[in-house]
């Protein structure tokens, strides 16, 4: 009973965190699902957002500026992966690995050391409402409003001429040029938006926890993919709206499951193998039945 009680006590905190992780999962969903581009940049873009934001906050810049700078830095990282892939025709997975490996050194340089506690620094939540940091219910409401606003913006964008063109790249790359759609422009824009969202997630989590660590991206991609897959089993993928909701729903459930597993005594370090096994099973089972949810996207 203690175990269950411990878990139940953590439900609101976990929900609040998972809403922030939704940005990361959105940043993973966009390349994988909308662009059919398996993109690993998030392993580096997530800590990049955190490090840029933390460093600027410690230097006394305004939290809004620090957060916007983090988004831009993330967008640059995504664009870099796109360019490595397009210009040098390097496999998309390898392009992502190259960029996040390079980002590890860059993040270390930006932060100055491997981790920084944001003592005494202002942050964006204190500016919105100082009570947010201590009141979990207020956090959930604030983050929910934030993520809904981002979802509405994305939904709008994907129904514009530019957004629809971007979706064609993922659906039928052979058709795109003959419709006058530039693969380069759409890939760079798409990965830029995606990694910008991932970096926003990193910047927000750093400001929520008051702590930045260059290692905060390790394994984050698999967590994100697990969340995405869970979300998609619930929302489906038939429409753009359902595809956009999947990351948020998935993150909420995934992080509750993680919290439950930890309450039951699972070591945090063992969690990664459990998550990897889970992703393998969810992606692998349909493959054994002859079709894979991810197969089309992994082909690129």
């Amino acid at each position: 009973m203690d175990v269950i009680q411990a878990y139940l006590n953590l439900v609101p905190v976990t929900l609040s965190q998972s809403l922030i992780y939704s940005f990361l999962v959105l940043g993973i969903m966009i390349p994988f699902r909308l662009l059919s581009f398996p993109d690993l940049t998030s392993e580096g873009a997530f800590p990049l957002g955190g490090c840029v934001c933390a460093t600027l906050l410690m230097a006394g810049y305004s939290p809004l500026l620090a957060t916007l700078a983090a988004i831009l830095a993330g967008a640059g990282a995504g664009a870099a992966t796109a360019l490595v892939h397009l210009r040098f025709r390097i496999n998309s997975l390898l392009a992502g690995i190259l960029v996040f490996t390079a980002l590890y050194s860059l993040n270390m340089r930006i932060l100055g050391r491997s981790n920084v506690a944001l003592f005494g620094a202002d942050n964006i939540f204190m500016q919105i409402n100082p009570a947010i940091l201590s009141d979990v219910r207020l956090q959930v409401v604030t983050f929910a409003i934030l993520i809904v606003a981002v979802l509405i913006a994305l939904r709008w964008y994907l129904a514009t001429q530019a957004g629809a063109a971007m979706r064609v790249i993922g659906i039928n790359p052979d058709l795109a040029p003959s419709l006058g759609i530039s693969i380069w422009t759409c890939t760079i824009a798409g990965l830029g938006i995606a990694s910008g969202l991932t970096a926003l997630g990193g910047a927000l989590i750093v400001q929520l926890q008051g702590y930045a660590d260059v290692g905060m991206g390790t394994g984050i991609l698999i967590n994100g993919l697990a969340s995405l897959v869970i979300g998609e089993t619930i929302t489906g993928r038939q429409t753009v709206t359902r595809q956009l909701l999947a990351p948020v729903v998935g993150a909420a459930i995934y992080y509750q499951l993680v919290s439950l597993a930890l309450s039951l005594g699972l070591q945090p370090s063992d969690l990664k193998v459990v998550t990897a096994a889970f992703v393998l099973v969810t992606l692998g089972l349909p493959m054994l039945r002859g079709r894979s949810a991810l197969r089309e996207t992994m082909r690129a």
């Binding site: 964008y157 129904a159 659906i171 058709l175 006058g180």
Partner: protein, 270 residues
């Protein structure tokens, strides 16, 4: 006759000395294009035939910009486009692919596909790509073609038959009034009855819009019955170019005799 037929004396499309070798340097690499010359006048409907490996598809892909030639030049409407990326010439040139799966975006709806095609060659900005006025226009357009698609505007294209997808692909190719329409064996993957329907529709659209058209086919009956010029390709070059009265009088037997066609993919009627 459309006004542009008489307006300018210059050909619309000029391909001069196009050369392309795939896997150059590898042993046994043969040129796919070996100095191909071709000129199309405004309003021309040119049909290209030739055996496998003659360079028909490579020529079409080079004109569309999907393949960059090793040498030679392509001029469209007086403008050199040899090195222009495919997406930048899409406003002038549109194409229908052989594979019905390639010509449409399967996961998108019929109306979304049409909207994307209508935007061909224009700047894509941040205005909604669909609205009520467009939907009404597309519904009317499809109703006129009696394909049973007018009531299914919001159906994903993936749910259409191959014939319907190819018909949609043809409408998409002609929607933005291209200067040049490329048809790459666009009925070859369809059953004979559907192929005839799509071909009929092609002729109607080409005539209505007086489109300058370049069609590759393996179907000899199509080659004889369609277009005002017949071009035969062999070993990466244009070997013969038959137009006017001679083309009109051509029979399948003439064609076999003339080109000594021994290709089993050549179909004598269907």
């Amino acid at each position: 006759m459309a006004p542009e037929v008489t307006s300018v004396g210059m050909p619309l499309l000029v391909c001069a000395g196009l050369r392309k070798t795939f896997n150059a340097g590898l042993a046994g690499a043969r040129p796919a294009l070996d100095g191909a010359d071709l000129a199309l006048n405004r309003g021309d409907f040119v049909v290209i035939i030739g055996s496998n490996g003659a360079g028909k598809s490579t020529l079409l892909n080079t004109i569309a910009g999907a393949i960059e030639p090793d040498g030679g030049s392509i001029t469209l409407d007086g403008r050199e486009i040899t090195r222009l990326p495919a997406h930048k010439r899409a406003g002038l040139i549109s194409r229908v692919f052989q594979d019905p799966m390639v010509g449409t975006a399967a996961a998108m709806t019929i109306e979304e596909n049409l909207a994307l095609a209508e935007q061909r060659g224009q700047r894509r900005g941040f205005t909604p790509h669909l609205d009520g006025a467009k939907r009404d226009r597309y519904r009317a357009l499809l109703a006129g073609l009696s394909l049973g698609m007018e009531g299914r505007l919001s159906t994903p294209v993936a749910q259409l038959s191959g014939g319907q997808r190819q018909a949609l692909s043809l409408i998409m190719a002609s929607l933005s009034r291209p200067s040049l329409l490329l048809l790459d064996e666009h009925t070859a993957a369809l059953d004979p009855r559907t192929a005839d329907l799509v071909m009929e529709m092609t002729l109607r659209i080409v005539a209505e819009q007086s489109l300058t058209t370049l069609m590759v086919t393996h179907n000899m009956r199509q080659a004889i019955e369609t277009g005002n010029r017949l071009v035969m390709m062999d070993a990466g070059r244009v070997r013969d170019d038959i137009g006017g009265i001679e083309k009109a009088a051509l029979t399948p037997a003439d064609l076999v005799e003339k080109f000594r066609i021994d290709n089993d993919r050549m179909l004598l009627g269907t």
